[in-house]
Symmetry: C2
Subunit: 317 residues, 2 copies
């Protein structure tokens, strides 16, 4: 597809999307967060800023949404990576799917409130001992990151919300130049029903099978990279279930979207290993199996932070 056709497709996508409800509030929060972490601020400390996207986007099938297509993603990768980026001195804009895994909360049970607390006496609740460290750690570290201006959380649900907010973030982060990074771990829908051609009411199930035609979501990655935020360090992810085509698809994405790296991961082994694909070759990254509770995101973020440092140096010469 040529550039003019892609731009037309993207314009159509945004024009036909339902307008974002709280765009002014989001822009205000972003500007404040970026200013706080900018060299010129005087308030906080000059930090690199990374936008970590996390969780899956939904595609509504009806305008008054009853049914939608969803992309499976626990958000564990994004939450873990956020923790390691903050540890490495970054400020993180965490663009996450509502209800998915949150930074510092990965070791908690599914429903922490109901599973981790008990009544100490008639009036007071207390953390149940086996979960005490995890619960206290989650609350302490999460609050510290938010209160310290190191973590800004922005939620989304639909593909329309996700891409609109991502564009606002990219434009806000422009001022940071090469000190900004995009770490696009969200599972973004490939196919959607354009808002204009969407059924107004719930699709009826009276008669026989349902045939659906879904359009491809325009590939925003190249526009993000070359237009929205041309000086940022950009990492995208490629998930496949078939290992045979994984690296080939990751290499294609690297070239097509001009990413600085593509993290290739396979559904079944994604917690153990990933491959960082760059124009200089592939690097295999593994979880440290000698340590219990270690994450593959630990060495992955370390590697990318290192690459980002080189990128910043090269950008300034």
């Amino acid at each position: 597809m040529d550039s003019a056709a892609l731009h037309e497709e993207i314009d159509l996508f945004f024009e036909s999307a339902p307008p974002l409800k709280d765009s002014t509030e989001i822009t205000d929060k972003l500007n404040q967060f970026i200013k706080f972490n900018s060299p010129s601020s005087g308030e906080g400390k000059a930090r690199r800023v990374v936008c970590v996207t996390s969780g899956g986007t939904t595609v509504p099938l009806e305008r008054r949404c009853v049914r939608y297509i969803d992309n499976f993603s626990s958000g564990n990768r994004g939450a873990a990576s956020t923790e390691y980026f903050i540890k490495a001195g970054y400020a993180v804009i965490f663009l996450y799917r509502r209800g998915t895994c949150q930074p510092y909360c990965r070791s908690l049970p599914e429903d922490p409130l109901l599973e981790c607390f008990e009544f100490a006496d008639d009036f007071n609740i207390q953390v149940w001992q086996p979960h005490s460290e995890a619960v206290k750690g989650a609350i302490r570290d999460h609050h510290a990151a938010v209160a310290g201006g190191l973590l800004l959380k922005l939620p989304f649900t639909t593909i329309f919300e996700y891409l609109q907010i991502l564009r606002i973030i990219a434009l806000s982060m422009r001022s940071l130049g090469p000190h900004s990074m995009f770490y696009l771990a969200a599972a973004v829908s490939d196919f959607y029903v354009p808002w204009k051609s969407m059924a107004e009411h719930k699709i009826q199930s009276a008669s026989g099978p349902l045939d659906m035609r879904l359009m491809q979501v325009p590939k925003m990655l190249s526009v993000l990279r070359t237009e929205w935020t041309p000086r940022a360090f950009c990492i995208s992810f490629k998930l496949e279930t078939d290992s045979k085509i994984l690296l080939e698809k990751a290499c294609m994405a690297l070239k097509k979207y001009k990413m600085h790296s593509v993290v290739a991961n396979e559904l079944l082994t994604r917690k153990e290993e990933v491959t960082v694909v760059t124009s200089n070759g592939h690097i295999s990254v593994h979880r440290d199996k000698t340590r219990t509770g270690s994450d593959v995101e630990d060495p992955l973020v370390e590697l990318l932070v290192d690459r980002h440092s080189t990128f910043i140096k090269e950008s300034s010469t």
Copy 2:
């Protein structure tokens, strides 16, 4: 569709479904719960038992599931109704979608652990005052219901899990005869991709639009009603976004599936009013607007409990 064809369709659905992982554990829990609340037990008290289903089911589009179709449902109706059934003396089997609203937790914020707690000192956390009552009430009432043998929670995600567990519940509740009720508030998928014809790997997005053909999920309601649990009191729900066709569709469901009542609700007004459709006519049920925080589930459950009493009396004569 005639009965033989429906049975064939249902058999095919269950045969082709991925096997339920923890069916023995589920059956054990159910038998224990039902025994505890049975007249003959001697342990608990003889109670009526209602199975409340809640939240939406998913339909995987790929075997190694990356994408799936989901049905929007917060689970608020099911969670609220569960509280009112327990208040009315019932024991509740709560068959709910993972991650949806839980009984006694409806007034909590989205992420209660991160939004409701703060550090009191370096070692202890405490509930943040504005949420104190809601948090303590949720933990107290929820634990009391579970510990008292009045609430059994069983989670599902896919349509395959939901229907398999529902069948196990129905067969387990048979022994309760007319003292059992089904309150089917879950948003169950109408369309699915049969497991056998499902793509093994992630669907590729390389070339053009995606055309999908979804099959109708066989209508299990009539089989639940007439075969799995023929003596239970059965309530189903009908949600539409178009008020013009709502009552007509609810009446059709009442006849077709031989339900004792169908609760008709419209997407936009579902928290304010519902219509209970029975073979003797329609009853409109409204939230008590003179009380802040009142729920439409309060008078709805009251009405259905009353109808259930009549049903039990009539069954024994």
